[in-house]
Symmetry: C2
């Protein structure tokens, strides 16, 4: 249970059992390609990835499946929707591999109506930080999508990647940037030809380095 650290960080282990109960936490296993929830679900729970990984998929009218984001161990998903008890989540959550998830009700953590458990305040604080990071991550995505050309989107995306290795394969990258895979491939070749970027598989280097 190592990767839940960020959620429980700073909370002594002896308080965890009571908190789990308070959170209405449930542990679940899913197989590869299994759906944790489908678009349109009401009142989804919030999830933390314990092991494996998942992806949030938004189905478009034209049949394309945009990749909202990927979720890795220690990261959460669905927090905002669970807190606001949204009537219909706008995306589906699918496991990319065999995956273990901790589902819980964040409203129970935020609720001040019952007397707080030891550590609950700290848990709330951790939730705030996790949501903050999600917001920043989403902001980076908006930055990418705000660009009008594939080239700018790509450069903006690469600027946000510290390491040379990106988290997506080609078709995933196209779905994340919401562009046609073939057009992305064409533009990549063009940029390489112009000396703007160097890449091999998932490893990218821009002209400036980094």
């Amino acid at each position: 249970m190592v990767p839940v650290l960020s959620l429980f960080s700073g909370i002594p282990a002896e308080h965890h059992p009571a908190l789990w109960a308070r959170m209405e936490a449930v542990r679940r296993r899913y197989e590869r390609h299994a759906y944790i929830f489908l678009a349109g679900s009401a009142n989804p729970k919030c999830g933390v990835v314990l092991s494996g990984s998942a992806e949030l998929i938004k189905d478009a009218a034209d049949g394309s499946q945009a990749l909202v984001e990927q979720v890795f161990p220690g990261e959460i998903f669905g927090l905002a929707f669970a807190l606001r008890q949204v009537a219909a989540v706008p995306f589906s959550c699918r496991c990319r591999e065999a995956t273990e998830i901790l589902l819980f009700n964040p409203r129970a953590v935020a609720s001040l109506e019952q007397p707080p458990c030891p550590g609950q305040q700290r848990l709330l604080d951790n939730l705030l930080l996790l949501l903050t990071d999600k917001t920043l991550q989403m902001q980076r995505k908006v930055d990418c999508l705000s660009c009008r050309t594939i080239r700018e989107r790509l450069l903006t995306y690469l600027k946000g990647c510290r390491e040379g290795e990106i988290a997506f394969n080609r078709s995933e990258l196209a779905r994340y940037l919401c562009v046609d895979r073939c057009a992305l491939s064409r533009e990549l070749a063009r940029m390489r030809r112009e000396g703007l970027i160097v890449f091999d598989g998932r490893r990218f280097t821009t002209g400036e380095g980094v």
Copy 2:
């Protein structure tokens, strides 16, 4: 100070002064078109609009100024960036009119290192909800930008508007959807001709009603 309600909701007025001190809150007035902060600023504070309104602007390489979002009385901005002490905010914040802002340090609210003031826990809770709403708002924007054609972007945007009246004028809408204003205008006329939507100024009606 009515519109700050969501931030201070549920907290008795007698606790406000101590909380203000704890938050390092400062009240500021700005004129129309004044900048509250510029893109690239470090460690920005978080703001709540007391009166007036502001907009977050992202400057693109090509000179276009995308409209990240608008902020109205009672709403916050910059929360995630302030909480994470981001080194360079990716957008500027500019007042759309004469505006009063309450600037504060959300880290002081979230900090558990000092003994909490009365009401601080509730304030933290309110912050979490405000950030949640921002996240959902951002999610709607990503939904719009995930669409590849102006028509789909527009329909997605309109679906998210309960009332018939939208919050933007034409050029603001184009900047929000990250499309050329003229192309937007052209597409609007086309959709009207096809009977897809009816509109007059800021008032829109889609084929299905709503």
